[in-house]
């Protein structure tokens, strides 16, 4: 596949692993990959097993489905059950458990929940069903927020009044800062967010090297992107540099996408604080629909219960999201909590560390060696 195959080239990968092995002279490196998309690639392509032993990849909080707290899911289910509502969201959100089942369960019991690939599809459903009210359950970092923004603008332009957005958009910098402030972690550096950075650019991360003294390389999502970013981090450290570098320069510009940022400013505003699963309340870390668009704000139109629900006791998604524990260290991992019967969000999204590890990485070391090193058929 053009523009993909070249980032999955085996010879180039082997060459990178060689350089990485040469550069990694210290006993231990701990790099956090911020995005769930990175985690997915790392497991899907078996990268964990080809990196040298002294490099550990720690999975970060950048999985939009994973960070939504349970109370917001309960609100979503409540909305979906309202008379005359068609409730729309991205596919993964349908399976996230609330305190009394998921949206998928609500759907089986009669709620009209539909999954869409874009908020514009939700707007289209609203226009096709003028007697219903269509709610779009918006989640995601600055990556997906602009598409919600465009939809809000379009709804206003077209005067579609039977449509609203239940905004749960979050921003990327506050959780990175929260992790850097957490005493549990001793990270050597970061594989920085890729797709988020297409919107926000690379400048917002300058505090990572400048204030916290950790190098960061904004990384793409193909296997070679990840390997090259690890190599760039090691090179910075070997050369005693500490800065934000951009490996994903084919899509990410330092200034990001000013048009998208402008649109976000017009349609959304920062919440004073927002609850993150596992990370607790973080101030100025999430976006709500701007007051100029109040008519399209589901939180203004409906009086949702808005009850804060503690995570299930057994679930350690919070620690997983912070990179404090590995997925398999969670007490319920793989037994009570599986992709089929998830307890926590990290087991739901393909970008969740638990799902990625369970679906792809759950191989005995000896098997991994045997599989990886066997001669090609």
């Amino acid at each position: 596949m053009k523009f993909v195959d070249e980032f999955r080239d085996p010879a180039a990968a082997r060459a990178l692993v060689r350089t990485i092995t040469e550069l990694a002279t210290e006993d231990e490196y701990k790099f956090m990959e911020v995005c769930g998309g990175h985690t997915h690639t790392i497991y899907r392509h078996g990268l964990e097993h080809i990196l040298p032993d002294n490099i550990e990849l720690v999975h970060g909080p950048g999985c939009p489905v994973c960070v939504i707290p349970m109370g917001r899911i309960d609100d979503a289910i409540w909305l979906a059950q309202q008379e005359g509502v068609i409730f729309t969201t991205f596919g993964d959100m349908m399976r996230v458990p609330g305190s009394t089942g998921s949206l998928l369960d609500a759907k089986a019991r009669g709620a009209d929940c539909r999954f869409v690939y874009s908020p514009l599809d939700a707007l289209k459903i609203a226009m096709e069903n003028p007697t219903k009210h269509v709610v779009f359950f918006a989640v995601g970092f600055e990556t997906t927020a602009p598409s919600t923004a465009v939809t809000l603008v379009r709804a206003k332009q077209l005067g579609v009044t039977n449509f609203s957005v239940f905004a749960n958009h979050v921003t990327i910098v506050p959780p990175i800062k929260a992790i850097l402030d957490s005493p549990d972690l001793r990270l050597s550096g970061f594989l920085g967010p890729g797709h988020v950075s297409t919107v926000v650019g690379t400048r917002p991360y300058r505090f990572v090297p400048e204030v916290y003294g950790k190098p960061m390389v904004v990384a793409g999502f193909e296997p070679l992107d990840i390997l090259q970013s690890v190599q760039m981090l090691l090179k910075q450290m070997a050369e005693d540099r500490c800065e934000v570098e951009n490996q994903y320069s084919r899509v990410v510009r330092p200034e990001g996408n000013p048009q998208a940022l402008q649109l976000l400013n017009e349609t959304m505003e920062l919440r004073p604080h927002f609850e993150w699963r596992g990370l607790g309340f973080i101030s100025q870390s999430a976006l709500k629909v701007h007051r100029d668009f109040a008519e399209w704000d589901a939180e203004e139109r409906f009086s949702m219960p808005g009850i804060r629900v503690a995570d299930p006791k057994a679930c350690q998604c919070g620690e997983v999201l912070k990179g404090v524990i590995k997925p398999w260290e969670c007490k319920v991992f793989g037994t009570a909590c599986t992709p089929e019967t998830p307890i926590g969000t990290c087991m739901v999204s393909p970008e969740g560390a638990c799902a990625a590890y369970y679906n792809f990485g759950r191989l005995h070391r000896d098997t991994a060696i045997m599989v990886g090193e066997r001669a090609a058929l």
């Binding site: 392509h45 964990e48 089986a108 296997p223 260290e329 089929e340 599989v371």
Partner: protein, 365 residues
């Protein structure tokens, strides 16, 4: 150069063993209403089958849960008997229609059981308001497909339901095939070093139907691969008489079929990712949607396990058939670890290929 993979702690290995033990258990039915997951062919479907159908109908023939039931007549002749319902939406799509699927799906289940398909029944559930012209087209597709597959449709039924009680047209077919006397296929015959072949490119049907719905705003020239497999299966069996086991890779795709193989034969399967045949355009569409072609449905492809010494002859036979041009040897059977399907990436990485959870593409067959 050899790189030592990251060492796993004893605790992690313990967790992995615990998970494996847990996975060996039959899944339990936990829900109190049917969700789409119960129809997706994964663990929820297995739980439903166990707890509701096997519980009620249980008998040794059914309990084998094969693609078809293997029955022996009083005369000693063996027949295979299979049924399937078709609810694809839309009912017509590039490369075929629900009519083609209704014939191909059932005859293919018989063919991969080693039987020669002979007779079909056809039951129609029609929603009030369906155009008779469309029904005629679909019935013509069935006629054409049956003729090419060498089967007769010998009994049938029609029901019409009020608008909204069905989605245009559902079809059920059941089929009977005759199993040649000397033919024995089964997972118990699968052994380490056996090779696994797939008869052509993966994922064409699922993506064709998905795109035909027009919900995705992706335009790509992808056609369903729906086809009757009786002919190509015969060619394979002639070239590789030691063939162990076959299955058509429909719902859940090749990945699901290999998991079923690993579990029922209690062997490990190692896939060579670089060998997997996928059309570039299908691969592109899958990548955009975040779907692995290994799990996308086919309606004209099957997976066969053959002894290593017959694998090249088997491959040549498949490739010589018009339906098998892109056939490939994709995997090997190993003794350890039993029940696991692993995949070797082109740069020597490895990962698990698990049963699919939840169908990303509902109503494709």
């Amino acid at each position: 150069m050899t790189v030592t993979p990251r060492a796993q702690s004893p605790r992690e290995l313990q967790v992995l063993s615990r998970i494996e033990a847990f996975r060996q258990r039959r899944p339990r039915l936990l829900e109190d209403v049917i969700t789409l997951a119960h129809g997706a062919g994964g663990k929820s479907s297995a739980a439903l089958t166990d707890a509701v159908f096997l519980e009620a109908f249980g008998n040794p023939t059914l309990a084998a849960l094969g693609d078809s039931a293997g029955l022996t007549l009083p005369s000693g002749e063996r027949v295979a008997f299979s049924t399937d319902s078709y609810v694809v939406q839309p009912i017509q799509f590039p490369g075929g229609s629900i009519g083609h699927l209704a014939v191909h799906g059932t005859v293919n289940d018989l063919a991969v059981s080693g039987a020669v398909p002979k007779w079909l029944s056809a039951g129609f559930v029609i929603e009030e308001g369906l155009s008779i012209e469309v029904l005629r087209e679909i019935v013509a597709d069935m006629t054409e497909a049956a003729a090419l597959a060498g089967v007769e449709i010998v009994t049938g039924d029609t029901k019409v339901v009020p608008r909204g009680a069905a989605d245009r047209l559902f079809i059920n077919t059941a089929g009977i095939g005759i199993v040649p006397t000397d033919r024995v296929l089964g997972p118990e015959r699968v052994a380490p070093t056996d090779r696994i072949l797939v008869s052509g490119t993966m994922g064409d049907h699922g993506m064709a139907v998905m795109l035909a719905r027009g919900e995705l705003n992706i335009e790509a020239d992808i056609s369903s691969d729906t086809a009757a497999l009786g002919g190509i299966v015969s060619e394979l069996l002639a070239a590789a008489p030691g063939t162990r086991w076959m299955r058509d890779a429909t719902r859940g795709g090749v990945g699901t079929v290999l998991n079923e193989l690993a579990k029922s034969a209690n062997v490990g399967v190692i896939i060579e990712e670089a060998r997997l045949p996928v059309r570039p355009i299908v691969n592109g569409a899958c990548d955009l949607l975040g779907i692995d072609p290994l799990y996308v449905a086919n309606e004209g492809k099957f997976v066969a396990v053959v002894p290593v010494e017959e694998s090249e002859a088997a491959l040549a036979a498949l490739r010589a058939h018009p339906l098998g041009e892109d056939a490939a040897i994709i995997a090997e059977v190993v003794a350890e670890p039993p029940g696991i399907v692993a995949l070797r990436t082109p740069f020597g990485g490895s990962r698990i290929v698990d049963m699919l959870v939840g169908d990303p593409l509902p109503r494709i067959c």
